[in-house]
Symmetry: C2
Subunit: 486 residues, 2 copies
Amino acid sequence: MSELVPITVARGDGIGPEIMDATLRVLQAAGARIAPEFIEIGEQQYLAGHSSGIAPQAWDSLRRTRVFLKGPITTPQGGGYKSLNVTIRKTLGLYANVRPCVSYAPFVRTLHPKMNLVIVRENEEDLYAGIEHRQTDEVFQCLKLITRPGCEKIVRYAFEYARRHGRRKVTCMTKDNIMKMTDGLFHRVFDEIASDYPEIETEHLIIDIGAARLATRPERFDVIVTPNLYGDILSDIAAELTGSVGLAPSANIGDHVAMFEAIHGSAPDIAGKGIANPSGLLLAAVLMLVHIGQPAVAETIHNAWLRTIEDGVHTAELHGTLSIGRPFGSMDFADAVIERLGQRPEKLAPVSYGDAPAAAPRAPLPRAPQARPRAAKALVGVDVFVHAAGVSADFLAGQLVALTVPPLHLQMITNRGVKVWPGGFPETFCTDHWRCRFVGPDGSPITHADILALLQALVARGIDVIKTENLCTFDGERGYALGQGQ
Amino acid sequence: MSELVPITVARGDGIGPEIMDATLRVLQAAGARIAPEFIEIGEQQYLAGHSSGIAPQAWDSLRRTRVFLKGPITTPQGGGYKSLNVTIRKTLGLYANVRPCVSYAPFVRTLHPKMNLVIVRENEEDLYAGIEHRQTDEVFQCLKLITRPGCEKIVRYAFEYARRHGRRKVTCMTKDNIMKMTDGLFHRVFDEIASDYPEIETEHLIIDIGAARLATRPERFDVIVTPNLYGDILSDIAAELTGSVGLAPSANIGDHVAMFEAIHGSAPDIAGKGIANPSGLLLAAVLMLVHIGQPAVAETIHNAWLRTIEDGVHTAELHGTLSIGRPFGSMDFADAVIERLGQRPEKLAPVSYGDAPAAAPRAPLPRAPQARPRAAKALVGVDVFVHAAGVSADFLAGQLVALTVPPLHLQMITNRGVKVWPGGFPETFCTDHWRCRFVGPDGSPITHADILALLQALVARGIDVIKTENLCTFDGERGYALGQGQ
């Protein structure tokens, strides 16, 4: 028997303590080799003046154990309180949000009785980096950032997850028919990494079609990996489709720390009554056990839980015609799961996580980003964004052409991405925000000093330059999109 | 009787000619006051060397009539052919994509028999402006642009549509809990314009929750208005949920021109057999008639069509146990609709578009963007983005602090939006892409020349500046987001 794995546990607020106690009782009975360390988070910590709901010393435990089983918390009313989850995710670099979404028909009502899928959502980048600027009277901008190491980490995690959890297919969803560079990178990395997992089937869907398929035929999916924003939307759709948001677990995975929790809240209205369903947290603990390399225990608990549900052992919120007796309380439910340890479900599909630990306890996850040779980067131009109200494209172009400093020359102007000079269309509606592309002769390299000389000339004439974007090639390949109509 | 309204008509490819003939036959019999002008688009035009599938002279007709009823087209295999729809949308500024999504249960199979909603999708801006740059070895960027006039146009169109089509509620969906400036603008404009339509109920949902509700309870929605990307995803979800993509019309609306079509393709496999269902195009023509101010004719046709469907008059692809006789051909189906002109459906819900023309024929739609007073804009800093591989945040900060030119000073550095200096976390994974924020003392204004002096100093020391974003206040209000942890 291997040594106990230290884990950090927070009971949380509301129903948190009772469902955590029920969960830990099942884990202990099933022989999970864990050594819990308890920390305090949530309402009392917020009210004690810790703006993120966690005391400074609690971080020590998280950083030491690197595994966090978290109960739901209550954020007090009123301003100034920061989201604990966002703080933990950003601070500890939890790059993967993992959401299994499973139907348990006929025990839970759903229009989609056969679904059993997992959303693996990138959790750190995309539009959620929160870099926004107002640039003119009319125009606001948010940066969407997609990075190669970010893509590599999340895509590799999705394939590793599929392998560890016995799943057969990974679907990637992006909008790379429109965003050829950013979403194109995500798709390209997906194809690259897929080749390391030949036993796993792969597919790519454009996000609009993919979301529509998910909403109408969720049973066709297994694992879905996708950038942050799409994953946010898809994981809420999928959870709702199962009809059982209250049973759903989630994991947030980083290189250093991983956090496991139910997706439901602290339900203060039923707190302390001992009637809450511990299933979401128990299934989160199952994810945790696989993560720390105890898949056999995870499998035993998960199958016993499935058997418990199909035997009609239900807490109050699931109670219906397929339930036996009166609604079970949290602890009685846990005892019913414990009685069934070693049994498998007969109506619902059993799970299988394999025999051997998929990863040594506390070993870091495979670190995807590899040192890659740096590309030869050449500066070939600059997009200068200008704030100018009440002018025409031709007028602005005339001004800019007169001011341009060799070797740069004005190649085009776009407004909201549509080319308006040279050769614009009379119907194009123009805002006060102009993207003016300057390049060197015949695509030859320029210098940062050339750009500064241009900016100097523009600023000296009172042109309101609001931002710049350099145009570069990488190993000779164009690192910028052409304008519509260019 | 008012004069005939000229409209431009393209029969298109594949089944296009037969469904267009069927559609026009119904319009004529119903007394639509239209004068069609025919243009050629599609396969033959592509093959004749027009890269967007439309001959130059056809634009004259579109610009004159300003109303386009378009059959489906076939884009030839092989490269170099541009999307006709994207070309028309960008060229003519069709800012609104309108997609009614209606269930016709039990005549069309669906899990959601009661849905009847319209997606009004912004069609020009957001991430679809196509402005992408690769900035470092690791990082790719796409700009999300949201403009006040863009928001005003689409939101006002949605409310005008609701009013003309007798709809009672408009739901706005954004992600403004994360993107407080860009999506926040869309939400704010929605609230502003809603006050002009007190008879219409309004609500706002965060897009992830909204999409989940749409996927599980579409019957709760009426009109949904949303930015481009979300609208793309939602309109595919909604169309699939109805189970009747083949019956669905769409409109693309601009200030100058509006285009109406079925959402299905040219179906070359059944072309020329006279068996295609003309319903998608016929319902597109209904949208067109309301748009050009002939709502009474539109209502007559739409109700006759609903009666036809519920009477069991079905083309081949809908044929089933509720159908009468053998499958109807395209023209026989049109004749069946014509026989029922003046009748209303008894099982399906009838439509009502009101009595009076909602807009004079060919009058421009209400032009939302209003001249607004320009804000007092003050430059207070700059975000300089730097490409630097293999360095720590502290090392980079040391370099930058040494180079900084008064009055600017380095305030913070973030990597993928997470603050890494001062006071970063050891777990934060850093890419080679650093956002370095410089501001003046105590938030006091700076000048463009100050920024140029800073850039000059950085570039002179070989710092690879990849882009800048000015930090401004507008009427004293901060025009940029704070860094996470700032």
